[in-house]
Structures are given as C-alpha cells and as structure tokens.
Symmetry: C2
Subunit: 255 residues, 2 copies
C-alpha cells in the first residue's frame, strides 16, 4: 500500500523544481530500475504493480532490490490511476537519489560537453552513446534540458547510471577551469571546421572535451575563445545539418 | 479564406489511412514548405496565417510558391483554431502530393533499408542523415512507421524531398529482387558481426544495401538468408545497444 504522501511525492518529481529541491528523480520501467540497482544508484523506493508481482522478471527485481537494501512497495489499480508517469504506468518505477557531482570528482579522460541541448530524446541518446563508446564524463551547460527529466532518463536506457553527469552553473567557467587546472583541450563540432579525422584520440585517457552546441544555435559565442580545434563532419548531400545526437555519435565513434 | 472542406481535408491528413487514400500529406512550418517547393515536390496548396503574411520570410515564401505555381491561401485566427497540427499552428503548412516510387525507378548506388522502425523521430533522423551523406535511396519495410507521418516529415528537416523513399509491401521480396536483378549486396548491422571497417564502399556508385532492424527486435528472421555481411559497431562501455538512428549514422558516416 502506498500512502497518499508517497503518491504526491512521486507526482511532484515529474517537475524539475521538485526534483532539484529533493535531489531525487523517477526511473520508470523494469529495465531502468534494474540498471539503477545494478549500478549502485541510491534507490530510495521501488513501486511495483501488485498484480504482476508474481511474474518472473518482477520476482527477480524484488530479489535484486533486497540485495541492495531498497524498499519495495506494491500498489493496486486505484494507486496506479493516481500516479503520474510519462505514458501508462510501466509496471514498476523507482525513486532514486540524484548524485551531486562536482568537477573535482572527474575521473579524467574524454568529456562530452553539451551547450544548450533542449530535446530530452537527444540528451538521452547522447548519454547512451557515450556509455557505449566508454566515455565516462558528461558535462551539461546551465541551460541544457534537465538530465533527470523522465524522458531523458528513459532514453538513456540505463546508461545514466554508468556515466558521471556534471551539471554546470556556467559552462564557460567549467571549461576554463578544466583547461587551466587539468590541461584539457576543447574540440568542437561546427559547420566550418577541418574535416573530422578517422581517429580522434591517441588513447582513452587523453584529456579532451568534445563540445556540441544546441540543435538550433550551435555553440554560444562566449565559448568561442576556449575552443582549440574545430571539426566538421564532411557531407555530400544537401542537408543543412545533422541532428546533434547523430553528430555527437559520429564523433564518439572515432574516439 | 479556407473552405470548411479544405480544413476537414487537412485534418484528415493527420491520419495514415487518409494520407494513403489521397496520396497526399502535410508539411508543417516555413522551412519544410520552402524545401518542398525548392526540391520540386508537388505542392497542392500552401496555407498561411494571414496575420504574418507581411513578414519578410513569408513574403519570400509567397514569391517562391508563385514561381512553382503553387496556390497560397491565407487563414485567420478562427481557421487556425480548427486546423489540427502536431504542435501549435506553425505559421504555414502545405498539402503535398506523396510520390509513388517503385523499385524500378531506383537511381542505383547505396540504399538504406529499414526493417520495422517504429519511432517517427528515428525514421526522420535516418532520412536526414542519409541526405547529409549523399545516400539517395531509402527502402522501408511494410511495418515501418509511415514516412508521411507529420512527426517524420518534420524531423527530416526537408531531407525527405531530396531522397527517394520506397515503401515496400514485402521487404523480403524487394531485397531478393534487388540482389537478383541488380547485383546488390546486403550488409546488416547486428550485435554479433565483424567490426565495422573505417571505409565501407570503394565508391558512391556501389550497389550495397545497408539494412537496419527495429529498435527492439533487430532484423526479422525471414531476412537472415539474404544478408551477405554482418557488422557490429565496437563498443567499450556497458550499454547494451545503440539507438538505431545513431547506429545508422555511424555506418553512413563510413560510406
């Protein structure tokens, strides 16, 4: 049984201001909750549809939650009707604590920095792609879509629990700090740059920041002075640009 | 002034069955309508918000429509309230005739074949990326999302007017025909294949089909026997898979 207070709290976490205040967010669906537990995210509560608790994958999830000392609550039809989710109730969800990671906790090696990405699907896809190519660090500008937005969380397909997401208050200051203190180079993708080489790094420990601008406006002017190299993905057709998640993926595939 | 019949027709074109029956679809927004006209799509009617007709870019669009002998109708607030669009009324839209392209009209060279892609954003992004890399031919399986769905049209960013989209009734038959009659090779992207090489084609006239399966189920079993080479995008992290539009983009970037 869920208390009304819990249902209210889950519903509030649909909104960014409540997520920021509570330092918590919602992970929807079996796969996401499983990944959160397996990757040692701080899972505060698992909420499961009581009608499917006997299904094999739900039983496995209950066991996994037990191993990680995460509390599981079951809910009925009436509760489900009151819980707000992105689509229909996905059978199971979890309240997870959002880590507050500072630049000083960076593990070094390549960083994907995003300036003003607004589309949740694009951000989620970039995080998922970074995880695929073994890039650990994601640095988000102050006006990027909230990474704990349910649509972002869903489209990362669990990869957000395996990457470190740094939310910057000023991307300009963060980039300058990383350059000065840790000798990072900043590589950006733009319409007019050198052709993107086949291989971008000598090794995966190199301190390079790959900077991608917003879907519509590219990188903001204030960052220009911090960029060391500008690359372009050579095209042959007449399309004006590539989707930012696609462009980022092509760059990451050459790391 | 729009007639009620025109408004009804525009609204019906939100639905796949009506699009298929009329062989028409809706393009929303300035950029899309402009691209449709410039790329010689058959634009049947341009519908513009009368309140913004004096803006410079709308004036330019009216001139462009005139050059292409496309009719322009202006609508008022009341009409706009009755017209169904993906989001709020985008200022301008057009009714465009959907071409019926057969395999015999193929221009040869590489083809991107998609099996069961369900997400409109993914399909639109793949078409846009193909256009960027100069790949002219898109072949869609029978259960792929409708390419004339407004969300697909919007996310192609005009690229759908520069590519040839073949809607197959049976992808299996179409692939077999292309192999037998035109000597195409079928290359697929799978979880367990050879590592994707840096360069996939000797030249852009090579008859190769790049086959991508659905977001969740991959390529259907019936197609297996038609595949000549299987590639995998090597990853280093723990993500289970890449988004299909991302995977397709990485392959196309090596064509």
């Amino acid at each position: 049984m869920l208390t009304l207070a819990t249902i209210k709290h889950i519903n509030e976490l649909q909104q960014k201001k409540h997520r920021a205040a509570a330092h918590e967010f919602i992970v929807e669906g079996l796969k996401g909750v499983q990944e959160a537990l397996e990757n040692e995210a701080e899972v505060l509560l698992v909420v499961m549809d009581g009608n499917i608790r006997d299904e094999a994958d739900m039983q496995a999830l209950i066991k996994l939650a037990g191993e990680h000392e995460a509390q599981v609550e079951f809910c009925g039809r009436k509760d489900i009707g009151q819980i707000k989710t992105t689509d229909t109730f996905p059978g199971v969800l979890a309240i997870v604590s959002s880590p507050d990671i500072g630049l000083d906790q960076i593990s070094f090696g390549p960083i994907v920095a995003l300036d003003g990405i607004k589309d949740p699907g694009n951000l989620g896809t970039i995080i998922r792609t970074a995880d695929w190519f073994g890039i650990q660090n994601i640095l988000l500008a102050e006006d990027t879509v909230d990474p704990y937005n349910p649509k972002v969380v869903r489209s990362t397909m669990g990869s957000m629990f395996r990457t470190s997401i740094f939310e910057s208050n000023s991307l300009e200051t963060s980039l300058a700090t990383l350059k000065e203190k840790y000798g990072y180079r900043v590589v950006s993708l733009e319409m007019k740059g050198e052709p993107l080489p086949q291989k971008l790094l000598k090794n995966l420990e190199e301190n390079v920041i790959f900077l991608f601008g917003s879907e519509s406006h590219g990188v903001r002017p204030g960052l220009e002075k911090l960029i060391d190299v500008r690359y372009t993905i050579p095209g042959r057709g007449q399309a004006e640009s590539l989707n930012v998640a696609v462009a980022a993926a092509i760059v990451m595939s050459r790391v």
